[in-house]
Symmetry: C2
Subunit: 374 residues, 2 copies
Amino acid sequence: MKFLVNRDLLWLNLNNISRALSTKPPMPILTGIKIEARGNSLFLTASNNEISIQTEIRDKRRLQIEAEGVVVVPGKYFIEIVKKIEAKEIDISTFEDNIIKIIADRSLFSLNAFDKDNYPLISFNDSDVAITMDVLNLKQLIKKTTFAASLSESRVILTGISFTTEGRKMEVVATDSYRLAKKFMVFEKEYPDITAIIPSRSLDELNRIMDESESDVEIHFSPLKVLFKYKNVWFQSRLIDGKYPNTTTLIPTDFLISVKFNKNEMISAIERASLFTSFDSSNIVKLKINSDKTVEISSTNNEIGAVKEELIPLECSNLINFEIAFSSKYFLDALRVFDSTEVTIHFTGEIKPFIITGYYDVNLTQLILPVRIS
Amino acid sequence: MKFLVNRDLLWLNLNNISRALSTKPPMPILTGIKIEARGNSLFLTASNNEISIQTEIRDKRRLQIEAEGVVVVPGKYFIEIVKKIEAKEIDISTFEDNIIKIIADRSLFSLNAFDKDNYPLISFNDSDVAITMDVLNLKQLIKKTTFAASLSESRVILTGISFTTEGRKMEVVATDSYRLAKKFMVFEKEYPDITAIIPSRSLDELNRIMDESESDVEIHFSPLKVLFKYKNVWFQSRLIDGKYPNTTTLIPTDFLISVKFNKNEMISAIERASLFTSFDSSNIVKLKINSDKTVEISSTNNEIGAVKEELIPLECSNLINFEIAFSSKYFLDALRVFDSTEVTIHFTGEIKPFIITGYYDVNLTQLILPVRIS
């Protein structure tokens, strides 16, 4: 194998696939990157048990393949080398089958390669039906839901994000059972019914790879895995096996009182009100609607002190005395994903779940469970 | 006690004194910040066992003292509160002697204060003789030496930086016994003889407080401590007790061969050459001068591979076959503090210390001990 490649182009592609490189995988070979020179293309592949990523470099001006071949190089070292190379072009070749030589200007690296026959066969297969989506929409979808998924492995299914399509509608849900994020999208055409649970970590990694450019992503759902095709990147994740809990009935539709706020004012007030709570990890703040239509957010920590914040809502649907307590962390997580500068909180009762919506965040619902206060 | 103060002004001053706040001090009261309103000034003080910092805020337009007094507030919480306040002005007052009330726009904090009588008496005393130095010079002096001090407490004296004055000359030395950084300065007037060992950590903290402005620093040396007066900041550090080793004879003056390099080219080459060494923590690279006047930097790691870098020196005093091995980390640390774009390495022998100098780094010597190679 021998090829010449532009340093920046190689670096960009290495960066993308490095998301699938794990530092401590069950199989040592998976700390390696598979490099394949074939025809006019260079394929880079990395994989851990959860995700596999492949990119294809195909650029007549910036890639010149002189001899085809396959090699599996130690991922971390190969990436470090390319990162530190300042030369414009890198000359890569194999030597005696298990050594890879990297030449760039006056630098010469020889790197011991893995036995390429040990690298697992990874197939990136299309499914019969692929959903096509705009990159920006997919990025938004991920950003606005994955934070609400569970981090605990005690209920594995909740570490995933539920994707369901029915006709022209797709519903995406994440919940850790204390809060829930739900967004739906409407497509221009109908797709066959799909139900899939994608690990939230996989989606977060995918989101880091996709830039804010205007291109499409093809999503191929298979029974055990999902494949995202984005530009020259093939990103594949395993699916989580099982049945996602039905969350439809959880979301209230009748409200006791709805209050509209300036989002940033609310975020600042909550951040200050929770300054003394974040240290005992309970993060609980109280929200009280006063009879003069002001809203008070407060918390008390006997050892440290107390905070009281007053907010003037932009709108208030009706006037009742109302008090509720909740995790400031969950509330802030939810508020921060809204694009709207004004958000409305819809309360159903002092110990019932409440939801947050925003005018410019179409089809997005954030739900939070309150905590009982004595 | 009651005063109104500009938020940004308070924040800036809190940031400065926070350098002396330790999270786990032997005395809980030292997690507190002492605030004293007296006359037209507000004094903020923080201290740990090593350093004490006091700032004076005196600004008729941005500080208004309504009642004098002293309070000791929990440092971490007070800093977090001021950080999160967006209001322009903060109203601070004491309430029932042990509660401090902080009002800013529609936020109200009550914070439990410490018993102020428990706060130790810290005196910031001038000495008979003070050395006056330009801030930029002092910053350079610190940056170019402290990195070479020891981090290990096994020889405490080497965790400090030696300051010695004799006549108009001041010599500053740091060494961890494997490398040494030495800089001297010449003053316009004579000072009495001073010998002092300042903890390198104290100097690093001082450096973070001083900005790149053109002002003077007064340095007051006392037998047990040193006081730096910079703008409205008084920064005091304890000194390290003991006798600093005599390093004068360590620095070679006769050289076998001197080689001049472009500094950044050398840094890049060493960084690449040590890519495989940094993982086994030995960091050893070899430097070889070839008969064709090229210089080769290399390292080998049996498990991972090998690197060879070639450099063309800018100048070479004479031509001999020469090979030496050293810690790439020490070498890079030393190179990075040079302002000169060209540096000269002066070798005295293959297993003897070598020194690095730069034309624009007047009176600066960096010395490194090589390692034996088989």
